[in-house]
Amino acid sequence: MAMQITPEEAVKKIKNKSSVMIGGFLGAAVPLVMIDKMVAEKIKDLTVISIGAGYRGGGVDIGKLVLNRQIAKYITAHVGTDPNLIKQIVNQEIELELSPMGTFVERVRAGGAGLGAVVTPVGIGTEVEDMAEKIIIDEKEYLLFKPIHADVAIIKAFRSDSLGNLQYKGMSNTNPIMATAADIVIAEVDEIVEVGEINCEAIGTPGIFVDYIVQGHTYEERKEIYEALWISTNKL
């Protein structure tokens, strides 16, 4: 069962040195308001767990945490979109933990699903072999990776009812998986509706996984924000 709180209250759940999963995919479907609050609160030494870096070019969404030097460790599959992040990694200001993207996803899923490890053939014959334990099953080689679990997950959904049942729009990408894999799960949503308004089949994340609901930008506001971003970066 979830509780609706303000972004100001929600950001207090994240402490210096917290590990924080951030939903979204390279800037899309990210919890923009919660990230802004984390920047405003100057929470330090964060371990950020995100499938990739922020929007291309840096300085947008998660890129703000980078510019503000709030990150000590980054667990991800891809940092290529944010030159500032790469610079801080090269300068050893940020520790980087990489895995292939599908492996990253399964590690987070395993963290939420109580599984002991991820066993995948992806990465065999590459440097990724150094990032995991190699095991042999029926004479075939696999890599064994450990699950990922976080102190806090901040995720983005379209809307929520007051029980924390979440509905997604479009590509939900990492959000439903990360909703399962943290001690405290904060969902930022476009709108909050009455219980029963979201049909049982339309619920992408049941409220059992969600602790706090935060009103984010409305859908119309997000549409404006993204159109402006896409136009200014020549994508629309």
């Binding site: 499938i51 891809h78 014959g125 990724v128 590509m171």
Partner: protein
């Protein structure tokens, strides 16, 4: 060289009903040349199948984007899902073909595309899953790098993205098939000679004699 030669040549590999994941750059461009009457279903690893071109301004949807977070549209029959489903689809062998760029590819079909030690440090993203899981792997790239150095090698010198996975190599000079016993020249680009290709290719071309 005809304009967009590589992208147009990739498009000839599309068969009706194929599910395809296209890498950024030239591979993505190839979608503009899908032959009339051929239906190709595009997958994007952030969680979408059957997407279409970018929307008009004012008609974008902040939650409909490709793997580069750029606005796209969904076609009728398109589906959206989360990344666990997306990578299950990729790694589980459900996608017919992927077309990717590369820094190097070698005669064993190994591909290097994600890292140049000390220079390019972006992380592998979804490339390793795609190259492992997709049924057919096409590498599309310029034949040589900007210094004129061969990118098709006996053995990749850069860190691999996947070992022994490439099926077809399409460059601005030629098309090669990677078989178990090595690299076979299949086609020369317009105006390109076999000896030119031989000279610009470090890898051994098994059937080069047939072309000379």
């Amino acid at each position: 060289m005809p304009k967009n030669y590589i992208a147009k040549r990739i498009a000839k590999e599309f068969k009706d009903g194929m599910y395809v994941n296209l890498g950024i750059g030239i591979p993505t461009e190839s979608a503009n040349y899908i032959p009339e009457g051929t239906h190709v279903y595009l997958q994007t690893e952030n969680g979408g199948l059957m997407f279409g071109p970018k929307p008009q301004r004012g008609e974008s949807n902040p939650d409909i984007a490709n793997a580069g977070a750029e606005p796209i549209t969904m076609l009728p029959g398109g589906a959206v899902f989360d990344v666990a489903t997306s990578f299950a689809m990729i790694r589980g062998g459900h996608i017919d073909m992927t077309v990717v760029g590369a820094l190097e590819v070698d005669q064993e079909g190994s591909i290097a595309s994600w890292k140049i030690p000390g220079k390019l440090l972006t992380g592998m993203g979804g490339a390793m899953d795609l190259l492992y899981g997709c049924k057919e792997v096409i590498v599309a790239m310029t034949h040589t790098d900007k210094y004129g150095k061969a990118k098709i090698r006996k053995k990749c010198t850069l860190p691999l993205t996947a070992a022994g996975v490439a099926d077809l190599i399409i460059t601005d000079k030629a098309v090669f098939r990677v078989n178990k016993d090595g690299l076979y020249l299949e086609e020369l680009a317009p105006g390109v000679t076999a000896s030119e290709v031989k000279q610009l290719t470090e890898a051994e071309i098994v059937n080069i004699k047939e072309w000379e």
